[in-house]
């Protein structure tokens, strides 16, 4: 990190290798759009590059700092968006390497829409804890809220997704219906 702060491009490349995946995953879950997620990931890492000297490792872990920047950028974008009709939700890009069934693709798209319908802070709480597998403490730190407040957001998020999917529960999960 110190080397990156002094302008060492190779050190920065190592940081990009280490942190790009998690940052991109967080942005993708929050924004539901590949291109926007890539923009946010790039902006986050360029901020790291430009302001690496300002990072204080005594105050936070680097990953926490980066997640916080990413979260704020995502929330800014979500607030700047107009309400998007469901018909306009972008198609899910599929990786041709993967042999995914039509059902799985539809399910994936359905979940994207369900998550996209959550209020931004509930979505962020669920993303940080469930998808990024951060501890409650770390997720709460990133969101700058108490652990109790995070628990409340998580509970509301899971209940909302469940309620949203309830009518089609059996169709979505035939094995568990």
């Amino acid at each position: 990190m110190e080397r990156a702060a002094s302008g060492d491009e190779r050190a920065f490349a190592t940081l990009v290798d280490r942190h790009l995946g998690p940052i991109l995953a967080l942005a993708r879950r929050m924004l539901g759009d590949d291109a926007e997620a890539e923009d946010v990931a790039q902006e986050t890492l360029i901020r790291l590059w430009n302001h690496a000297s300002r990072f204080d490792r005594k105050r936070a872990r680097l990953s926490t700092w980066l997640y916080r920047i990413t979260s704020n950028l995502c929330i800014d974008r979500l607030r700047g968006r107009k309400v998007q009709p469901l018909d306009d939700v972008p198609e899910i890009k599929t990786d041709p390497e993967q042999d995914r069934s039509v059902h799985e693709r539809q399910l994936s798209q359905r979940m994207d829409i369900a998550l996209g319908g959550l209020p931004e802070r509930q979505r962020l709480a669920l993303t940080l804890f469930h998808y990024q597998e951060l501890s409650m403490k770390e997720a709460a730190d990133i969101m700058d809220i108490s652990v109790e407040a995070l628990e409340s957001l998580l509970a509301r998020a899971r209940r909302s997704v469940k309620r949203e999917l309830e009518p089609e529960w059996k169709a979505l999960l035939p094995d568990n219906g």
């Binding site: 790009l20 790039q42 799985e104 998550l115 409650m136 509970a155 568990n176």
Partner: protein, 173 residues
């Protein structure tokens, strides 16, 4: 807490299980230690608890079906290129100063074409001609006190004097 629990105790524990599942999901590893130690025996012994756990697992499974972002080498290279560009951008920005005479030369070249120069020369010759031959209508100069105008100008400009030939004094120059 064994298999034979009171109905009231079971309800309290089931509520606690629901509270835990709603917040942390079905993965025991994500539960706080205290919840895991208290609730695992309940799940082993209660069909209601098992059903709640299965429902939470189903929701976890659905959540895991959400699309995953694919990290690409192309994106990484794009970020590294952008970082390099930032380095260049942060260097002091030097804007080359355009010499004044170049600007003037440009204006001269573009504005002073031969017809405008010829028109200016013609008007100058015409002015000298009508002035030298007394062709200006006296009515135009009626009421105009040339002497007082000269005094006003001379008092405003100390180095300026009116000779017969109307020349500028050396002090002024």
């Amino acid at each position: 807490m064994g298999k034979k629990m009171t109905r009231q105790g079971t309800n309290i524990d089931l509520e606690r299980l629901e509270w835990t599942l709603t917040r942390f999901g079905a993965d025991f590893e994500r539960w706080p230690d205290e919840e895991r130690q208290t609730l695992e025996p309940l799940i082993m012994s209660s069909s209601d608890a098992c059903a709640m756990l299965e429902e939470a697992r189903a929701l976890d499974k659905l959540l895991d079906m959400a699309p995953v972002a694919a990290e690409t080498a192309e994106l990484k290279n794009k970020i590294l290129d952008a970082a390099k560009a930032e380095l260049t951008r942060s260097e002091p920005l030097i804007i080359p100063f355009r010499p004044r005479q170049n600007l003037g030369a440009g204006v001269w070249r573009t504005s002073w074409t031969w017809p405008s120069v010829a028109a200016l020369a013609a008007s100058l010759v015409f002015g000298i001609y009508i002035g030298a031959n007394g062709l200006i209508d006296p009515a135009l100069t009626n009421g105009f006190d040339v002497a007082s105008a000269e005094e006003s100008i001379a008092s405003a400009l100390p180095g300026f004097s009116f000779d017969e030939d109307v020349t500028l004094s050396e002090d002024f120059l």
